[in-house]
């Protein structure tokens, strides 16, 4: 006898993610989730991003890794609250980890919450963290066909950032081919190219983030003035 169940496998994670999303909305927090292969430049992008903010800006970072707090130590130098999530072998962050570390960090909105996922193009894409946008990074030292090899994350990401563009003269990488492949999977995906080292293209990234923050603010519940 067959009985219909019809529920999400990651039902529990989705429930927690919905709670986080609600919290972000109430506190006017913009949360973005950075996903890429290991070594595509997530931490370097965050460093440069934090370095561009004025002291006192309301921003916090959660950074995930299987082991070590090296990334948190790199990111703490900028004077903003940072918390390392050591997953101890788990290949992705889930909503429960984010909730726990966010509570321990004591971060409250309004503000910006940057979540650096574990370096992995596969597993993190299955887990909703309540974020407003997933951002996928692809560095010019990888292959242009990565969007076709890992369609799940390119399908779910709102923005693709091509990183390490300062290396373009030294590698055979065709940015337009990479973008074309990404848009085969996700025709509406936004695209930016930048170098966290030289700063080229960084103004466009900060503008993209500011625009999303503006949009989040407008969607936030009205506060009594």
């Amino acid at each position: 006898m067959r009985e219909a169940v019809e529920k999400k496998v990651l039902n529990e994670n989705d429930r927690l993610a919905a709670e986080l999303r609600q919290r972000y909305r109430e506190q006017n927090i913009l949360c973005v989730n950075f996903i890429s292969s290991p070594g595509s430049g997530k931490t370097a992008l965050l460093e440069k991003t934090l370095g561009s903010f004025a002291p006192g800006t309301s921003v916090a970072v959660l950074t995930g890794d299987l082991q070590t707090d090296n990334d948190a130590r790199r990111l703490m130098r900028y004077g903003f609250p940072v918390r390392q999530i050591v997953t101890g072998g788990t290949c992705h962050l889930d909503a429960r980890m984010v909730e726990r570390h966010l509570n321990e960090l004591g971060f409250r909105g309004p503000g910006l919450l940057l979540v650096e996922n574990v370096g992995n193009l596969v597993c993190p894409s299955s887990y909703d963290l309540g974020e407003a946008a997933k951002i996928v990074l692809l560095s010019v030292t990888e292959g242009e066909d990565k969007p076709l090899k890992y369609p799940g994350i390119f399908h779910r990401a709102s923005l693709m950032i091509l990183t390490k563009t300062d290396l373009l003269p030294h590698v055979e990488f065709d940015p337009m081919l990479a973008l074309e492949n990404a848009r085969k999977i996700h025709p509406e995906i936004d695209y930016l190219a930048l170098s966290s080292k030289s700063g080229e293209g960084f103004d466009l990234w900060l503008a993209w983030l500011a625009a999303l923050q503006q949009k989040t603010r407008q969607e936030a519940p009205a506060t009594i003035s």
């Binding site: 009985e3 039902n11 529990e12 299955s126 779910r156």
Partner: protein, 119 residues
């Protein structure tokens, strides 16, 4: 790579159902896995078998339905399966379509053993 976690989530759901209905005997669980879900069928089947071995759920079968990416044309409403990343509508040629399938990661059904006939 995260199929052990996915298999654990499926098993937790069934265990919760089993606690709720101690008399039911489950024979199989049906799941739907989309091609954009980033879950590997073989790895999931392997993880499920490994995690249920020598447990009360040892005999539970995992039945996987694989779901290809499907789009719906924004112009004529045609629904079609995507092959070779072709998102253009095969019926009217419209380039814009929305995704309506392929991201599934669902528990679809439970198969219950028939209760024994009383003599």
């Amino acid at each position: 790579m995260h199929e052990v976690g996915i298999a654990s989530s499926i098993i937790e759901s069934i265990e919760a159902e089993a606690r709720r209905r101690p008399d039911a005997r489950f024979a199989a669980v049906g799941v739907r896995i989309g091609e954009l879900s980033n879950v590997d069928r073989d790895a999931l089947a392997f993880a499920f078998e490994a995690l249920t071995r020598k447990t009360p759920l040892e005999h539970l079968r995992l039945e996987i339905e694989w779901c290809p990416r499907r789009q719906k044309c924004l112009a004529c409403g045609e629904e079609f399966v995507v092959r070779e990343w072709e998102l253009t509508c095969p019926k009217c040629g419209e380039a814009r379509s929305s995704c309506i399938g392929g991201t599934e990661l669902d528990i679809a059904y439970l198969e219950l053993e028939e209760p024994c006939e009383k003599p």
